[in-house]
Each structure stands twice: as structure tokens, then as C-alpha cells.
Amino acid sequence: MKAAVDTIAAGGMSARDTILLRVREALRLPAPMPHFKSLVPSGGSDIPSPHAGGSSSAGHAGLAILPLDVARPWLPDGGDTPESQLAILANNLEKLRAQMHRVADLSAAADFVLSLARTRDWHRVAYHGHALVEPLLAGVPCATYRVDGADAFDKSALEHCDAGITACDAIVAQTGSILVSSATSGGRALSILPHVHIVVATLDQIVSTLGDALHAAKHRGAGRMPSMLSFITGPSRTGDIERILVLGAHGPKELILILVG
């Protein structure tokens, strides 16, 4: 079969067409379903083979049950109430060695950032334009750098900053992950290049599971996603040397979440 495809390919077919032809030819024979232990889809046990009936889209309807819908109750718990979600989140962040700081309002958050800047003797802090972020820089006793300001982005300037402050899209209780994006967190580099990453978020941004966060991102993006979406789960880490955990491999050594509300 492959030989036949390649003979045609030799006749000047593009790489794209050759590969897609190989794929179509290869899929002519259906593969058996995996050996499931227990998965019985709610639509009955007769999920059709994707290629039953010749056209590959014929199987599509039979697979309308997304693994996520089925899998939700099997994955780690993310909590059903705001209280349980907050408790699971706090526990996860602690295990991940991320810091969580709860404040009543934005002015308390600004005081907290100010004290951080003082005690750690920061020289320059980076941020982006956002209603939750800008108020935090009001009183910082050091230089600031706005990544999305009037001047063009300067990566060297950002590299010299001690900390970066961003907003986020969502916070996932289930895994302790913070979802940032190039649209809501000041582009791509602000949340990864400075040594300390401070995230400011409101309590209502906490969601239960990864699935919830992805679902919301898809709807917010509505066909046009931000060019980057990133789940950040704890400070940057590596285990490459003798499998011993070290924080701060290339990304931030510290991740500080300020929860307002």
C-alpha cells in the first residue's frame, strides 16, 4: 500500500497531499476499540467505529460523548461550593510551594505589594495595564515598567525587573493552576521572565476544574483565542539533577497569588 502511495507521490504530489493520502489509505482498516476497563458510554455500548459506513464523519455523532463529560467524576476533586474550592486551592498551592495571600480590597493588596518591594529591596517592578493591577503600583518605592505602555516592548528592560505583576483569566482549585493569557496578563513574557510572579485575582475567578477553565476560555475566545494561554502550576521547577526538586529553573522562583475579596 505504502509503495503504491509513494509511486503516486513521485509524480509530483505535495508533501501535504502525500501525507494526507497515506493517512486516508492507512485508516481504511478500522482499529479495535481500546480495552476499556469500565467505560460504558451513556449512549449504550455501541460506539460505532469511526469508519463504519465509509465516511469518517459518520462516526462523529456516535462519539458525541466527550471523554471529559464522562471522566469528570473520576478526576481529582475540585470542589462544588466556593468554600470547598477555596480550601482545595489553598491546599494545592501550599503543596506546590506557591504563596497565597488574601486581602479585603485593592488598597490592602497595594499595601502588601509595597511591603514586599520594601523588604526585598526591589529596584524595578514590571506590570501591565489592568484594572486590578495598576492600583497595586500606586505607592511602590521603586521604578516600574509597563510592558504594554506607549513605547515598544523591550525585553531587556523586562529582564532587569525583579518582579512582574499580572492579572489572570481563572484559578483552578482542582490542580492549583493559574490560567494566564496573552490577552489578560500582559502578553507572554511578563508572567515568565521576572524572578517573582505576582498574580492578583478576585475570589470569583476561582473555578472548580481544568475543564471549567478550558470551557470558559473557549467561550471567551469565541473563535479567536489569545495567541497564548498558559496554566501555571506553582513556581518554575526542575528535577533534572538526580531527580531532586529545585524551584526556579528558568521561570519565576516565586509565585505569589493575591486574592482580593
Binding site: L20, R22, L29, W74, S182, G187, R188, L193, A249, H250
Partner: protein
């Protein structure tokens, strides 16, 4: 590696046998690797316990991959259309050669002066670094493990833990030699040396090369999983972002990642989630302050469609490269990663390498297994790994029949179906057992080299049975 392909037949097998012998006898190496994996087992079990039903979650993960791989004809074009609509550019590569050429052209067009790269096993598969260096481009591996291996001039030892076999003293010495840093015994300090060394390189690089873990068809995004933040930096700061991926990495829904991302982390490294799981859809958008001007994705076949064409082993394309099957494999733990001589080590490597590089040269990997099934037990996407090793053995016997094995079986059939001949043969065998060791048959010699022969009984089983029957009367 490319040159080796042209070497004498069976070179791969000879190398395997030789290296395996060396490594199995190196108890220091074995203990070190076992110890490094010890922590993995503990954290993996703790994280697995947080799943309300890990086994059923495996069903969901395997269904997600099964339904995507079996509809690749529909999902691959859908992914590409969406990725292009987001402003990314797609390049198709039939084989390694074509992929190298495409990437070299892109690098040349970008007038690259410095290239930074994050971990990408597919690039190891096509020997990308060697090709870039041959054309005069410097390329820096930014993942700590890959960076250490690059300095050592070695390929990765394990496709998830590239330098798990290297001791901290060796790393300290290596950094001293190449970076001029003072010796240290602390993994933390060693990590910081690499961190400091790399930061300016991210800023200076004009091309960033990454891999991809998943291609999401419905949104046209690529998903990259990493712990260190180096891939994030690689895709944020350089002007051009090139990503290289096998065509089998497609999943249909963004939601599928809600199952696959945590399972990849738990099975692969004993984590709840890997530190950074990032979805990219194209270059910087209008209104975004940073990010690359161009994003290119190279989609590689390189014999993946040959695996796809084999319904029996098609599920080996479900592999999410978590590395769990290596960590539990008694063969891997004894012979070590380098003995395989392949890009993908361990059980899954033994399954797919014969497809990628030829069954006749790589079938010996299927024999290097006790068929214990530990790999299939841990695989988060339920690939039937150990049975595929059996399938490869069967296929090899069909295509390149082993004449001696066949001859041996024929003799056995003749002897076993004639009781008098069987008895006579047994008698001769009992009396000559001691001489076996001296016979010039390679298989026997290898087997007996490390094993003591038991003393032969004086009477055959049948004689003893008859005797016992008489005695009990």
C-alpha cells in the same frame, strides 16, 4: 546516527547485546538509577490517590486518543485550517530529511544569529541539532537536562528525564569546564548556574524552536507541557517561533486536555499538573505587546502513517510520551537508556522503533522484554505495549524467518511425536548434559555463561513415574 544506518547488518543488535552486558554488570549505575526513580514512585502514588478513579480516567484518556487517531484524516486538516486561520504557517514533512530541510530554510530566511531550543524529542528523532550545526548555526538546548546532555555530547538517556544517569559531581565538573563556574555539590546551585547562563541567551535569540505535546483540532492550538519555563521563554522572546510535531499528536477537543494534561503529569513525573501547560495559536496578535512575529509548525510523518496502517498496533500512536513505561520496566532499569540506541527508549521505543527504522534491524528490541506487562499496566492511555512486542516478534518471524529456529522446531516435532525417540534422546541428553557448556552454539554459550547447570537426574521422569506407581501399589 545517520551514518550508523549504513553500517553492517545487525549492528544495532550487536551494539545492544554488548552495551546491555556492560550496563547490567555496572551495579553502581543500576543502584543510582533505581534511587533516582524511588522518589518518582512515591509522588506518583500520592498523586494517583487524588483521582477519584484512576483506572476509569485511563479509559477516558485512551478514548480521547483513540477517537482522534482513528479520525486523523478528518482532524488533521481541521487542525491545520484552524491553525492557519490563527495566523500560523504549516509545513508538511514526509520524512526526517524533509523536516530538516524545511527548518534550515526557515532559519536561513530568519537570518538567525542565535537559536534557542526547548525540549523536543521529535527533533532528536530527525537529528536536527547536528543539521543546524553543520550549516553553521549555533543552537542552545534550554531544558536543564537537555543542556547537560548537549554539553556532554550525548543523546538523552530517558526521553522525559534526559540526564537522570548523571551524578551531580559530574555536572559540577562539566559546568566548570564549559562555563568556568566553581565546583559545587548542590543541585540548587547547579540549577542556578544554568539559569544565569541562559537568561541573556533567551533575550538574544532570534529563533526559538519547540516541540508540541498536543494539537487541538477544534481551536487550532498547540499545547506544550514543561516544568522549567524554558519553553515559555523560547516561545515568547525570539522573533520567530518554530514548532516541530508528529502528525499523531492531534486531539479533537480543547476539553480533552482536561483529562490528558493531569494524567500526563501524574503518570510521567508524579505531579498533579506539570508546571507550565501552554496553548499557542499563532504569532503575536494585534493588541498584544510581545510574542513572535511568525509562528511555523512543521508536521512530520516519518513512518507514522506506516504504524497507522497497522490496525493491530495503531494504538501505539496514542502515546503521549509520559515515560511511565520506562520507569517501571525491569529491562530499562537494568540495561539503561543508552543501550537501546534509539530516540525513544524503553518499552514504547521497542514497539515503535522497528516501524520507524526497519523491523529487520530493530526486532531484537522486541526480544529484550520479559513480557511482564508492567508497561501496559501503567500506560495512561492504555496502549497494549507488551502485546505489541509479541506482535513484532511474530511479524519478524514472518518476514525474516530464522532458519535455525525453524529447523530446531522441526527436529523437536519429529522427536516429540515418537515416544521411543524421545526416550532415547532423553537418555543421551542426561548423560551428556555436562558437555553442553563446551558446545560451540552461541545461544547455549551465552545462556550458560552466567548460569550453573543442575546435575542431571539418573532416571527420566517417565521412569520415575512408573517406579512411583509400582511403589504405591
Amino acid at each position: 546516527m545517520i551514518a550508523q544506518d549504513a553500517q553492517s547488518p545487525q549492528w544495532a543488535k550487536k551494539k545492544f547485546l554488548h552495551d546491555a552486558k556492560v550496563h547490567v554488570q555496572d551495579t553502581g549505575h543500576r543502584t543510582f538509577v533505581q534511587k533516582a526513580l524511588g522518589g518518582y514512585f512515591l509522588s506518583r502514588d500520592a498523586q494517583k490517590a487524588r483521582y477519584r478513579d484512576w483506572e476509569q480516567a485511563r479509559d477516558a484518556a485512551s478514548l480521547a486518543k483513540w477517537s482522534a487517531v482513528n479520525r486523523l484524516d478528518e482532524l488533521l486538516p481541521l487542525f491545520v485550517a484552524n491553525f492557519e486561520a490563527n495566523g500560523g504557517q504549516v509545513h508538511w514533512a514526509r520524512d526526517a530529511e524533509e523536516a530538516r530541510r524545511i527548518i534550515l530554510d526557515l532559519v536561513r530566511e530568519a537570518k538567525a544569529k542565535a537559536i534557542i531550543k526547548s525540549k523536543c524529542m521529535t527533533s532528536e528523532e530527525i537529528h536536527l541539532n547536528a543539521a543546524l550545526e553543520k550549516d553553521g548555526y549555533g543552537v542552545i538546548e534550554s531544558d536543564l537536562g537537555e543542556f547537560i546532555q548537549q554539553l556532554r555530547g550525548e543523546p538523552p538517556y530517558h526521553f522525559v528525564f534526559p540526564c537522570m544517569h548523571v551524578r551531580r559531581e559530574e555536572i559540577s565538573e562539566l559546568f566548570g569546564k564549559f562555563l568556568g563556574t566553581p565546583p559545587t555539590n548542590s543541585p540548587e546551585e547547579l540549577t542556578m548556574i544554568a539559569r544565569r547562563h541562559m537568561r541573556q541567551l533567551y533575550v538574544d535569540a532570534d529563533v526559538g524552536i519547540t516541540g508540541a505535546n498536543f494539537l487541538v483540532a477544534e481551536t487550532g492550538q498547540i499545547s506544550i507541557t514543561e516544568n522549567e519555563g524554558n519553553a515559555r521563554l523560547t516561545a515568547a522572546l525570539p522573533r520567530v517561533h518554530i514548532s516541530l510535531s508528529g502528525i499523531e499528536k492531534v486531539v479533537e477537543h480543547l476539553d480533552d486536555l482536561a483529562v490528558l494534561l493531569p494524567m500526563l503529569a501524574t503518570a510521567g513525573a508524579g505531579q498533579q499538573m506539570t508546571c507550565y501547560n501552554t496553548l499557542y495559536s499563532g504569532p503575536r496578535r494585534d493588541g498584544e505587546c510581545d510574542g513572535p512575529d511568525e509562528m511555523h509548525l512543521v508536521l512530520l510523518d516519518n513512518s507514522r502513517t506506516a504504524i497507522l496502517a497497522d490496525p493491530e498496533q495503531r494504538d501505539s500512536l496514542h502515546c503521549i510520551r509520559c515515560g511511565a513505561c520506562l520507569n517501571v520496566c525491569p529491562i530499562f532499569k537494568n540495561v539503561g537508556g543508552f543501550t537501546y540506541g534509539t530516540t525513544y527508549q524503553g518499552p514504547i521505543g521497542s514497539v515503535i522503533t522497528p516501524h520507524l527504522r526497519g523491523l529487520s534491524d530493530w526486532n531484537h528490541l522486541s526480544a529484550a522484554s520479559s513480557l511482564c506487562g508492567a508497561c501496559s499496566d501503567v500506560c495512561p492511555v492504555r496502549i497494549d505495549i507488551h502485546h505489541h512486542l509479541l506482535h513484532n516478534r511474530r511479524n519478524a518471524a514472518r518476514t525474516v524467518p530464522n532458519r535455525w529456529e525453524k529447523f530446531g522446531h522441526q527436529i523437536f516435532v519429529i522427536v516429540a511425536s515418537r515416544p521411543w525417540l524421545f526416550a532415547a534422546g532423553g537418555a543421551i541428553f542426561r548423560h551428556t548434559l555436562g558437555m553442553l557448556k563446551r558446545l560451540p552454539v552461541p545461544l547455549l554459550r551465552d545462556w550458560l555463561a552466567t548460569r550453573a547447570l543442575p546435575a542431571a537426574p539418573r532416571k527420566s521422569f517417565r521412569q520415575q513415574w512408573r517406579q512411583a506407581g509400582k511403589d504405591s501399589l
